[in-house]
Amino acid sequence: MGMIGKAGVPTASEILEPSSASLMRKRIFGHYGLMIGIGSLLVIFAIALLAPMLAPFDPLDQELSRKLIPPIWSGSAKATWVYPLGTDGLGRDYLSRLIYGSQISLLIGFSAMLISGVIGTTLGVLAGYFGGRVDMVVNFIITTRLSMPVVLVALAVVSLVGNSLWIVIWVLGLLIWDRFAVVVRSSTLQVRNLDYVAAAQAIGCSKMRIIFSEIMPNIMNNLIVVATVEMAHAIILEAALSFLGLGVQPPAPSWGLMISEGKGLMFFHPWLIGIPGAALFVLILAINLMGDGVRDVTAPENRN
């Protein structure tokens, strides 16, 4: 039985595809979400870095004579450009607290993400690369971790161990590595079965070498995407813990804590919760946009 050879028919996408580097550049710069996300993150990062220069007042400086000045857009007679975002119940400048608060959010988000990233990636690579029993054990650890309620355990542990910025960071880092492990495990599994990894094994590369020079670079895209998700997750959790009074302690200007402090006064001074909440929203939105953007740009076929 004769078949007509499936001759090299160029598919539509082959015809259309320009070189991959220029295509990548086009994809990155053409992706508004990614650009907006990275742009806003850079701005927030710069604000955190330059806080001492940007903040007009000491964020801890209390002055009861000037308490609860509304922000300038409120139209109130008390509003003044000296305190553009107003002052809180203890007379602290809200703009300065907001600026310094970005330091706390970024520090916690980034550090907790690093800790959980190291734990999760290690577990994930081990499970994905070695498979079999190692995989079973790692899966078991992941399932166990997932069954522990994060907020509750974090609150309980912080209440028992005592709270400081670094304890919060460590508790969060130790709790939210699960997504790293799950994603890294499955991407390692995929990469591991590719020909070039088999080739590296065949020429006798050591396991460590294969993991670090063959597998890690190829799961980087997925890792970056999870890192953004977990950084946002850590920032939200810190804000929630601080909101409940068991995260960062007063008088530090954590955004979650600012919302907590403003809660009792929100009926008449809603900006007290509106402003720090909006700042949290913008920061998390920026991180998520960047993560979604990286995913779209590096693997458009995986977009969902």
């Binding site: 039985m1 004769g2 001759a7 028919v9």
Partner: protein
């Protein structure tokens, strides 16, 4: 002429792409009679599958279909509403796809999927539909048909699933069946069984059958008439005897030269091949589309569109500037080489 179950005149399918219009199917005209098998032959990407989807009205949304005439059993299906088309599909015409492994819904039993087809189009009870399903499953050679009804697709082999697909298209006794590469995904031993089954059923139920394939061996065995497609156009059409016995278009000749024929092809003799690749179908096209790969190409070939013209026998036509006599000489040379 009145016996035509399907009549297609000047069917065109265009797909807009960022780089221009892809002319996937151009100026296609053919007809299928009751009790007749028409084979549409061609390489992957020559537009055969889009042709079948165009007839079924199942083209992707962005594809643009135009035609002078598209008639099924005397009814205009070119301008039919989507709701009328869905009444026709599965009832007057059915389609069998290439991938039996994925063409059945994994979540439902085959009985459910068979009965649902009939109940959609005919006012029958579940029991009546079930009896019909059992009858047809036995017809397509499935043993213990009644107990198979409660099985899920994943419990059946590829060959069995394709038989179920065939039974499913027969549920409402259609006038026309379109089989798009129905055996390509199957084991070689199963392929022949399924094809013979299709041919048999087609005769028994007196339906029209369009068999789309790139497998010439298949065509030679079951087709009454053959249309050879190249780059979105029919380049040769005629009875199976005409096209296989006296191929007139250089592409058809090249194709047949690629196949070993038992008893004719000598041991150790090299099989032919067609040099070059299929042209891109994006943008404006003119001239003969095969010219770049044709050994007999002349300057006139690229100049203007080459029309379809009758060959020496009635019912045999081709799309080439060479006369039938010149073609016959070329064919003789190919055979001798």
């Amino acid at each position: 002429m009145e016996n035509h179950i399907l009549n297609v005149r000047n069917l065109t399918v265009d797909i807009p792409l960022p780089s221009g219009m892809l002319h996937a199917v151009q100026g296609l005209s053919f007809h299928v009679d009751r009790g007749e098998t028409l084979a549409i032959v061609g390489e992957s990407g020559c537009g055969k599958s889009l042709t079948s989807l165009a007839i079924m009205g199942l083209l992707p949304k962005k594809a643009i279909r135009t035609a002078d005439l598209l008639e099924l059993a005397g009814e205009d299906i070119l301008n039919a509403t989507e709701s009328r088309m869905s009444d026709i599909r599965g009832s007057l015409m059915g389609m069998i796809f290439q991938e039996p492994m994925t063409s059945l819904n994994p979540a439902y039993t085959i009985g459910n999927q068979l009965i649902e087809t009939m109940r959609r189009h005919r006012p029958v009870s579940v029991d009546e539909a079930r009896d019909r399903a059992v009858f047809l499953l036995e017809k397509v050679g499935i043993t213990a048909a009644r107990s198979r009804l409660t099985q899920y697709p994943h419990q059946l082999s590829g060959g069995l699933r394709q038989r179920v697909m065939i039974a499913m298209t027969l549920m409402c006794g259609p006038d026309l069946i379109i089989a798009d590469e129905p055996t390509t995904a199957l084991d070689v031993t199963i392929q022949a069984q399924i094809l013979l089954l299709l041919a048999e059923l087609q005769k028994e139920f007196d339906m029209g059958l369009i068999l789309i394939t790139h497998d010439l061996g298949v065509v030679a065995r079951v087709a009454d008439r053959v249309a050879v497609m190249y780059a979105g156009q029919v380049v040769e059409e005629g009875s199976a005897t005409q096209v296989f016995g006296r191929p007139t278009h250089p592409y058809t000749q090249g194709l047949l030269d690629c196949i070993p024929i038992p008893g004719k092809t000598e041991r150790g003799k090299h099989l032919g091949s067609i040099p070059g690749i299929v042209p891109s179908l994006v943008g404006n096209l003119s001239g003969c589309r095969f010219a770049d790969r044709c050994q007999h190409a002349m300057t006139d070939c690229s100049a203007a569109d080459v029309g379809f013209r009758p060959a020496s026998e009635v019912g045999h036509a081709y799309r080439c500037l060479l006369t039938p006599e010149q073609s016959a000489q070329n064919a003789a040379k190919l055979g001798a080489a």
